[in-house]
Amino acid sequence: MELDFFSGAFFASWLAASVRLAGPLLLVALGELYSERSGVLNIGIEGTMLLGAIASYLVAWQSGSTWFGLMGGILIGCIAGTYLSWMYITVQASQVVVGIIFNIFALGVASYVYRLALRGVSGPQTVEMFKPIAIPFLSEIPFIGPVLFNHTILLYATAGLVAVAGYVLFRTKFGLNLRAVGENPAAAETAGIRVSHMRYMCVIISGAAAGASGAYLVLAQIGQFRDTIVAGQGFIALAIVIFGRWSPYKAALAALIFGAADALQLSIQLFQIDLPPQLFLSLPYVLTILAMSGLVGKANQPEALMVPYRKE
């Protein structure tokens, strides 16, 4: 295929792919945003995404309904979030340790359940997927239309959730309390905020978002399940939250950058460019490393992030 790197057609298809790939990343990152703002680094979202993916796949397959599949993913995400918050907040185990081990656990569970479900079935089954919805009029705008207004309902919903997160976190009393818990839990408790309730809620929100994001991968991108379906996207979401400096709008931008890098390496192979695709792929990670390295000013993370709170 002969394509000009700078042609409008290439640019439009690249940007459209970037937006498409950014969707699930942004969804899980938005959930993680609540959790980290409340002071809990939930690394377990990687495993939660995988559990959401397998649950949505099985439910969608058995029921034949995409929507039921999505709900199954969210439900299992809530359950995983509840367990994780219990470990983080009540047991007060190290958040890093619990998250890492939970991811291994989830990998085992998802792959076990998948093999159990596939017994006596000839080959992997494909499930019904969400169809792209072209928004009337808007999708006909040249260039912008195909890039922004021809996606699945899940992407539109995720975009809406960015605004919701922005409003809830920065414009409501709930959001103020939530951020207070993440910055200074002792002071928040003194002011009458129930720190552990708040954190439970936020970790469960992040679990639900991760479950939904896993469902997103199955129901809007692949239509099947494999053990490698998530492959680090939960960790990338951690990077997106940090890269977006704990703000939903900047996180949306960060997700787009990560999606664009991913999409670029898919299309770069079409051109005879003498650069290894890994260079583009690793760029977002390198940027995140620099953002967190302390070299370029302190990333202003929530003060109490990763610090368990013990009520005295």
């Binding site: 340790v97 081990i101 085992g108 076990y112 960790f235 940090i242 990670y285 990333a299």
Partner: protein
Amino acid sequence: MKGVLKKRLEPVESVWVIAATTCLSIFLALLFGGLLFIPFGANPMEAYGALFAESFTTWRGFGFTLVKATPLILISLGTIVAWRTGFGYLGFEGCLLIGAATATWVSLETVPNGLFGPLPFPIFILLAITAALVTGGIWAGIVGVFRGRFGGNEVITSLMMNYVAIFVVQYLVSGPLRAPGDLPQSPRLPRETWLPYFLEGTRAHSGVFIALACVLVVWIVLLKSKIGYELIVTGLNPKAARFGGINVGSRQIMAAFAAGGLGALAGLVEVLGVHHRLLDGLSEGTGFIGIVAALLGKLHPLGAVIASILYAGMAVGADAMQRKAGLPASIIFIVQSLIVLFILASDLLRYYTLKFPFFRTPTTPSVPPEKPEVKPIGT
């Protein structure tokens, strides 16, 4: 939870209680994992019997267990050094890959026309080990410098470094180190540079001795020397360490360097002992399972060795089970992670006692009696 849990005055610190909860956690995890065999029509007892028999009683299986345990031991040692210094490093997947790439490069250059020319094996292996220690040490040391000098967050940066390492290896096997052919992998390493097999009729390679030597070194340096003491104090209480005249930042960088070197050695033994070439997808979670093994071993070198062998045995048995009986090997991931999750949860029992509302036992009050409320004058 309220009403069921009652806080203890003092957390239980007895070694016996900790040992008992550990054993109970292992038992519960195995029990739970056993239930997972039933839907596949296998008897849990027989399945476990076959699983552990394969990896610990057959000569061949035991060889595989040693092979699998070697990188786990090295990574759990790295975890011990880093985490005990309070450096929450998670980048062992990356270190393993970097070490593997380094060992591959050194090995491929140890040929008549190569950079190093043909070398006798002892000199080659020393060279390879040194090179892997240096590259792995620098790889993790970067994160260490970010943390120790600039106050960065090592958890996230080290996770991200894993991905960069994956891309580095992908680049190497699709570019500079690529062998002719369809698969993205390096050429096969010259046979003279392979770690020799030492058990007749098994795949057990002598990398396990490298791992055991490292156990000894870590044990002596970390637990018996002045520098190890400073590292551990840094991890226990950085503020106190600073007032005690210890340069906390430099100790963290030191720990990062050592952890990275140990992680890289895991890559070296995998390449020179098992795969005999560099390939994409070399690690597949070893860097994380090693961390889990270190935690099960209570961050002690000896405990880590036992835990690594146990986990390696489980993995080998599970693989054999999947081959022979079609039982999914992923059950073993569930068991391995549940063990540590249960141990973590059981810590709750060290801080709280269970109180059942229907059984009134004449216990001594476990919460100090509440002081009568004194109202400040004037309110």
